[in-house]
């Protein structure tokens, strides 16, 4: 995991001091509301329905147990003893007092954390694959490049007032778990066809929101040393030419679409010619240095020769453990280890919400069983990436005691859900109560297992924080004359087979959402061919039979 240098620490400390000064001036009345707004937004601070909401950056989702304990502490000391995991792998707090925020930031700085650029029209937290470094299908660990991008983009003087927010994701494997095709810039590590050297494929202009677009390839292969100069060229063209007259047309996807990808590429390449051999060139030595922070753990240390047999015994002895093992753990590139997904989707809780006790609990479990590290996933769960097999049973028991062992990962109730009307001032409709309705309707785990892998994603408005366009089932809250209605899409995906879902028909009333989903699933069960997932069935059959079933 990356460790701050004295310079990194200094920058974060000075950022705290700067924000303290700005907040004090605002509270004293010498800084106007209008002037303060962009300044607080640059620091992840929104004014929401109830109180300010602070979004804390978790760079590419990676956390140490010490950091997790600090988040627990913050929720206890300044908030209502819980926090919320976001789809950008961050954590946000909903009930802070503005006057406390500088102190919160100072506390965060003691564990190398901050909230820089978690909102505002700037380059946001770079997101990545939650299995980075442990996935078998990975070409290379993407996190060193994420960290380079984090540093390059932090307080970037030229790109702090872009036309709109800007999101970058990096994936190290062909199976895209970082949703790179729906980001402003998507970066995929690829091998050069002839030289076999690893470099980057760069996509641009993807995104969700009001106008969902799949990203287009701007560079098939970029040698590693040019990563930052190429990003700088894209950002400069966007900063100068992106629309600023209409915030709904200000994302880079609109610029790329209006110029056409050929012309946009030409402009970027021309700009890049001036930058490529300049100071942004990344030397091999710096890549090596950065990679040292993300080395594999000493896996031999915990390997236990008897692990396979002791695991087998436990699986045999406890059906509940066996179900959790099957559903919430997956293969690790090192035999004898498993990747564990901690479901933060207990049926009675809002998806992604964690109490302070759960945060502390997970920190302790990570210390005990997974090298003191964890990852936040964009699906609003946590991952303990490096658990020795013979520790799985003890880990499971620990998770059970914190109500974090719901064996529903990858199933219908493992939903992505934005905060919606309960917290968000932009919302058209609620999403948390819909999640609850779905949980109530589908409380039979065996049925969920029979349905198999399905990704439900829900947003409370067009801003699409819940990524509804790319849900196998997407749910979008809409406002109809002051009433909450829900538009349902099917067939979306954020992975390597990225696609935008298709609307099945007119939106449905609030009380009918779970029932509508039930109809979609029954239709799937009736029509599926052997081994076919919901998404595959939708792709084969089209929307028609599902539409027919729902609307008759």
């Amino acid at each position: 995991m990356y460790q701050y240098s004295p310079e990194d620490q200094c920058l974060v400390n000075e950022r705290v001091a700067q924000f303290r000064d700005q907040t004090e001036r605002f509270l004293a009345g010498t800084l106007s509301e209008d002037e303060f707004r962009p300044l607080r937004l640059m620091n992840g601070l929104y004014i929401q329905r109830h109180a300010p909401m602070l979004r804390v950056a978790v760079p590419y989702g990676l956390l140490s147990s010490e950091q997790m304990r600090m988040l627990a502490h913050i929720s206890r000391k300044y908030d209502r003893r819980y926090g919320h995991l976001t789809t950008r792998q961050n954590m946000q707090f909903n009930w802070l007092a503005l006057k406390d925020v500088p102190d919160v930031l100072a506390d965060l700085a003691t564990v190398e954390m901050h909230s820089i650029q978690t909102s505002g029209n700037c380059i946001r937290n770079t997101s990545s694959d939650q299995l980075a470094g442990v996935a078998k299908d990975e070409l290379e660990d993407p996190r060193p490049y994420c960290e380079m991008i984090r540093q390059w983009s932090t307080l970037h003087p030229e790109f702090s007032f872009l036309p709109r927010k800007f999101k970058i994701a990096v994936s190290g494997s062909e199976n895209d778990r970082a949703a790179t095709q729906v980001h402003d810039i998507g970066i995929q590590l690829v091998e050069h066809a002839e030289t076999k050297q690893v470099g980057f494929k760069i996509l641009v202009g993807g995104g969700l929101g009001r106008t969902p677009v799949i990203g287009k390839v701007i560079k098939d292969y970029l040698p590693k040393k040019y990563l930052l100069s190429y990003l700088e060229a894209i950002l400069r063209i966007y900063n100068l030419a992106g629309r600023r007259d209409n915030k709904y047309k200000a994302r880079i996807k609109i610029l790329v679409n209006s110029l056409g990808i050929e012309e946009f590429t030409r402009l970027v390449e021309e700009e890049w010619l001036h930058l490529r051999e300049g100071s942004l060139m990344i030397e091999d030595a710096s890549i090596n240095e950065m990679q040292k922070y993300f080395q594999p753990f000493d896996y031999a240390k915990y390997r236990d020769e008897s692990s396979a047999s002791s695991l087998a015994e436990k699986l045999e002895a406890s059906p509940a453990f066996a179900i959790w093992y099957r559903q919430n753990t997956q293969e690790h590139k090192i035999p004898g280890y498993r990747v564990v997904t901690i479901s933060v989707k207990a049926p009675e809780e809002a998806p992604g919400d964690m109490t302070d006790a759960q945060m502390d609990g997970v920190a302790q479990l990570a210390d005990d069983y997974s090298f003191s590290r964890m990852r936040v996933t964009h699906e609003q769960n946590l991952v303990l990436a490096d658990v020795p097999e013979h520790k799985l049973h003890a880990l499971w028991k620990g998770l059970l005691s914190f109500d974090l062992a719901t064996p529903n990962v990858g199933t219908l109730t493992d939903m992505i859900c934005c905060p919606g009307l309960d917290f968000c001032s932009l919302a058209n409709a609620s999403s948390i109560p819909i999640a609850r309705q779905i949980n109530d309707q589908f409380d039979d785990l065996d049925y969920l297992y029979d349905i198999g892998e399905i990704k439900v994603k829900m947003s409370g408005c067009m801003n699409a924080c819940g990524h509804h366009h790319v849900g196998h089932i997407g749910i979008l809250g809409v406002d109809k004359k002051g009433e909450e209605w829900y538009q349902i899409t099917i067939g979306g995906s954020a992975e390597e087979d990225a696609a935008l879902g298709k609307i099945i028909g007119p939106s449905v009333a609030k009380e009918n959402v779970a029932e509508t989903i039930a109809t979609l699933l029954t239709t799937y069960v009736d029509l599926r061919e052997e081994q076919e997932t919901f998404l595959q069935s939708v792709r084969r059959l089209g929307v028609a039979p599902f539409k027919e079933a729902v609307y008759g």
């Binding site: 310079e7 000075e14 003087p157």
Partner: protein, 154 residues
Amino acid sequence: MGKTIIKDDRLVEDSWLLDLAAEGADTAGESATKNRVVSLEQWQQNRERLLASSGPRGVAISNDDDVLELADDVAHLDLICVEFPAAGDGRGYSQAKLLRDRLGFKNEIRAIGEVLTDQLFLMRRSGINAFDLQADQDPEASLARLRPFSVSYQ
């Protein structure tokens, strides 16, 4: 008394007169003693005459202008004003950067328009070295906040 601006980390009295209206409309009063800044369009239309005149020359670019059009002119200019019509409009940062890095402009680049205390550090780091603050901003307080960071990544 002219107004006070921040230039090279100091408060100084402004010696320029921004004259973006029709060229030569007013030659009385202040304008007689001050150096004039003209718009890019005025500059391009009257280039030969302005180059022939003695005294300092200044051009103000708007954020729709392509600064690279000044490639052949930067050697003859003493001041380029970069306009920030709204504090949230960040085009001026890229324009300043291009003027410095691409065109090698060495003289004064001045931010004009909605120029606010808390953005000066970003402007300074993009190559802007003079700041004509929005009227309600406190020059002393702004000067004190010119360098909130002692380190940077870029």
